[in-house]
């Protein structure tokens, strides 16, 4: 049996996670630290077995890690961009991707169901291949390919050549018709899970292991994340975190309440998830135990959900208006 080279990291996580679980920034900083340690151990392991990296490369994270919005538990979403293009290089970085995935799994990050991992050739490519792939996704413009694009746009450079991800994003913005990309992206994220019924009551899960709890990921977070990502595309920004994106997007894009308001709302929501989610496993962490909330807190959650939906609808109208202006 192979000696577990990641056991120290697991210990490190166990030691530090409890201090961080109630504070969003601290927690995400810790996740970054853990992922960094895993990547370093994985690289050393691959160097030991296959020699040094044959080309400059960038390991980047996507999904909630990319946006710096991880909860206590978080699954893996990552990819690799390397410079030189040949079969040996490809095989080397796929091996690295597999090693990192394995390490992250051992450190408590479940594998991504959708296969968004550097161990998958789909997400481990040379710069030239990545450029082709992005162009192909835009041209294809299917629901699936736009979904990949949106995932990629949450990509944050994590290890290695820090400019590669941004270079690709810039390439994407330069080579595509912004209006078209926005329209397609909007179409992909239109569906909002309803969180409040017409009587003003929160719509909790009625069946299953999370019965009685609120799906805060889909109901609460998604409208903010998706709306702000759309604005970020509109402004051709490179940031990935929703809070940072909010900071960089001009005021004119937001409803009257202003962007600081939405930053506060979103941050509060992240805090609620940390404080009232059931963090025994990855799945349950997305559900908020409503019965534990005070009356005021329940009211606040409802307000945050309503504001998220309102922000999303505002962005939708804004983009649709731009779209029709563009047609004229």
């Amino acid at each position: 049996m192979e000696d577990n080279i990641y056991s120290k990291i697991v210990e490190f996580k166990q030691e530090h996670i409890n201090e961080a679980v109630h504070e969003h920034f601290k927690l995400n900083h810790l996740h970054d630290e853990i992922i960094k340690q895993v990547v370093e151990v994985a690289i050393n392991q691959v160097i030991d077995q296959h020699g040094p990296p044959p080309s400059p490369f960038s390991f980047f994270v996507m999904g909630s890690a990319g946006r710096l919005e991880q909860s206590v538990w978080s699954d893996q979403d990552h990819g690799i961009i390397y410079h030189d293009q040949n079969d040996e290089v490809k095989s080397y970085f796929l091996t690295l991707g597999r090693e990192i995935s394995k390490g992250l799994f051992q450190a408590g990050y479940p594998y991504c169901d959708g296969g968004v991992m550097a161990s998958n050739p789909f997400w481990c490519k040379s710069i030239a291949e990545w450029q082709q792939q992005l162009t192909k996704w835009v041209l294809e413009s299917s629901w699936e390919s736009i979904r990949y694009l949106l995932i990629f746009l949450d990509g944050r450079s994590f290890y290695g050549e820090s400019t590669y991800v941004d270079q690709l994003k810039k390439h994407l913005y330069q080579t595509t018709n912004k209006e078209q990309l926005l329209t397609k992206s909007l179409r992909n994220t239109l569906h909002l899970k309803k969180g409040i019924n017409v009587l003003g009551k929160l719509l909790v899960e009625t069946h299953g292991p999370h019965a009685g709890a609120l799906n805060i990921k889909e109901i609460g977070l998604y409208p903010y994340v998706n709306a702000v990502r759309l604005l970020s595309i509109k402004e051709k920004r490179l940031e990935t975190s929703t809070l940072l994106r909010l900071e960089k997007i001009p005021d004119s894009c937001f409803p009257f309440a202003g962007k600081q308001f939405y930053q506060q709302q979103f941050l509060k929501l992240l805090q609620y998830r940390l404080l009232f989610g059931d963090h025994t496993n990855y799945d349950s962490g997305h559900y908020l135990a409503i019965h534990m909330l005070t009356k005021e807190q329940t009211k606040e959650i409802k307000e945050i959900i309503k504001n998220g939906a309102a922000l999303f609808h505002h962005v939708r109208r804004l983009l649709e208006k731009d779209d029709t202006d563009g047609d004229e």
Binding site: K194, N197, V198, L199, K201, H207, G208, P209, H210, A211
Partner: protein
């Protein structure tokens, strides 16, 4: 021969055919609302138990209900041979067939509470016992000239006799059988065991809806003044209102337009109007159906909350809506239409009829529940349990009770993947 006699016979024959076709509706309802691995079993046992119920009805059921006897039970005309009955303005055998169909429907409803976990043997034995001991007394009390008929109880086509009786037996069964594996979690929350085919369920509702014209309008037992048209109209409107009401309430409370709930709303509207279809005005039929659609929504949630596993919502659709339908004439029966009993509360009858209806509901429900419970409890003891083993429940009753799947190709493919 008298033309009216012939026309009555023909009309009620059409009714009997429609009601027997409702068995087909129940096959689709019950299979559609449950899982694939039990589909062949459910479909097959429904036909089989209708067979048992038919033979028992012929041998003793009919005599216990309509035979000469006392206010509690009839006791003649066993092994009925098709002769005409004095004073009945239609063919005796047509009347018999029509009544046989009703007894079959009530039994089929009762078996809703058995779904996906009872042994085939339990079905067979209970089919016999229910058809002799549970259904006939209640049918005799209300329709066979028994004590509730004398008392003036209004139950035109059987909200109580057929639906509530069946639902109470289903309740007894579901309590004794206990929930299906996987229905409730350790912390008490319920899982949604989704039915395998909503199209079947929707088609079942349409078949039942049409069949109900036989059930309700056929219960006029005559073509006199073409009154059956009015009854059919009320029936259709109540079903329509129940459908809409269930959809609205599900959207208001759950935030989604839930298809199974909407379908249950249609059925609840039909069950509720069954007692009152001949006694109330059209607007009241709409209201009765609408209220039934709301009630069924809350009733389904209630039973789940108290951890009673009711796979096809028989308790709510036939029980709760059956109670409401029976009580509804106590409010809405009009002076002109109340050929049995008195007008309801809103038509100057005061609380009298409502009291009669309530008494009828309580006694019939209690009788059906207690007797069914005792019978099933004895069976449980004698048959070494009513339920299949855990292993059999997991592989499905198609395989455990009959040795072949209703969807063989599909389930074999699935097993290959799992292996």
């Amino acid at each position: 021969m008298d033309t009216i006699f012939l026309m009555n016979s023909l009309w009620v024959m059409v009714g009997a055919v429609l009601v027997i076709l409702m068995i087909g509706g129940f096959i689709l309802l019950e299979t559609g609302s449950t899982r694939m691995k039990n589909a062949g079993h459910i479909a097959g046992k429904t036909i089989l138990t209708f067979g048992i119920s038919s033979i028992v009805f012929w041998a003793v059921g009919y005599g216990l209900i309509f035979g000469k006897g006392n206010p509690l039970i009839g006791f003649s005309d066993f092994l009925y041979s098709g002769y005409d009955i004095d004073g009945l303005p239609l063919s005796g055998s047509v009347f018999f067939l029509f009544q046989l169909a009703f007894a079959g429907i009530s039994l089929t409803i009762a078996f809703g509470g058995f779904a996906e976990r009872a042994k085939l043997g339990a079905y067979l034995v209970f089919a016999l016992l229910f058809s002799v001991i549970v259904y006939p007394p209640i049918a005799h009390w209300i329709w066979g000239g028994g004590w509730l008929a004398e008392h003036g109880k209004q139950d035109f086509a059987g909200s109580t006799v057929v639906h509530l009786t069946g639902a109470m037996a289903a309740l007894a069964a579901t309590i004794l059988l206990k929930p299906r594996i996987g229905k409730f979690n350790k912390d008490g929350s319920a899982n949604n065991i989704a039915g395998h085919n909503q199209v079947f369920t929707a088609l079942s509702v349409l078949i039942l809806w049409v069949g109900w014209f036989g059930f309700n309008a056929g219960s006029t037992l005559s073509v006199d003044s073409a009154f059956f048209g009015f009854v059919a109209m009320n029936t259709n409107l109540a079903a329509a209102a129940g459908t809409i009401a269930a959809m609205i309430i599900s959207w208001i409370v759950l935030g989604k337009a839930d298809v199974p709930m909407m379908l249950n709303g249609a059925l609840a509207g039909l069950v509720a109007i069954t007692a009152s279809c001949a006694f109330v005005e059209t607007w009241a039929a709409v209201l009765i159906g609408f209220i039934a659609g709301i009630l069924v929504f809350y009733s389904i949630r209630f039973f789940e909350k108290v951890k009673i596993d009711d796979p096809i919502a028989a308790l709510s659709v036939h029980g709760t809506a059956g109670v409401w339908g029976t009580l509804s004439t106590g409010f809405f029966a009009t002076k002109e239409l109340a050929t049995v009993g008195k007008p309801g509360l809103f038509y100057g009858g005061g609380l009298h009829q409502l009291g009669v209806q309530a008494l009828g509901v309580v006694t019939c429900a209690a009788f059906a529940f207690i007797v069914s419970f005792i019978l099933l409890a004895i069976m449980k003891k004698a048959m070494n349990g009513l339920r299949v083993t855990e292993e059999e429940e997991i592989i499905g009753l198609d395989m455990s009770e009959h040795g072949s799947y209703g969807y063989p190709e599909l389930l074999k493919a699935e097993q290959k993947i799992n292996a």
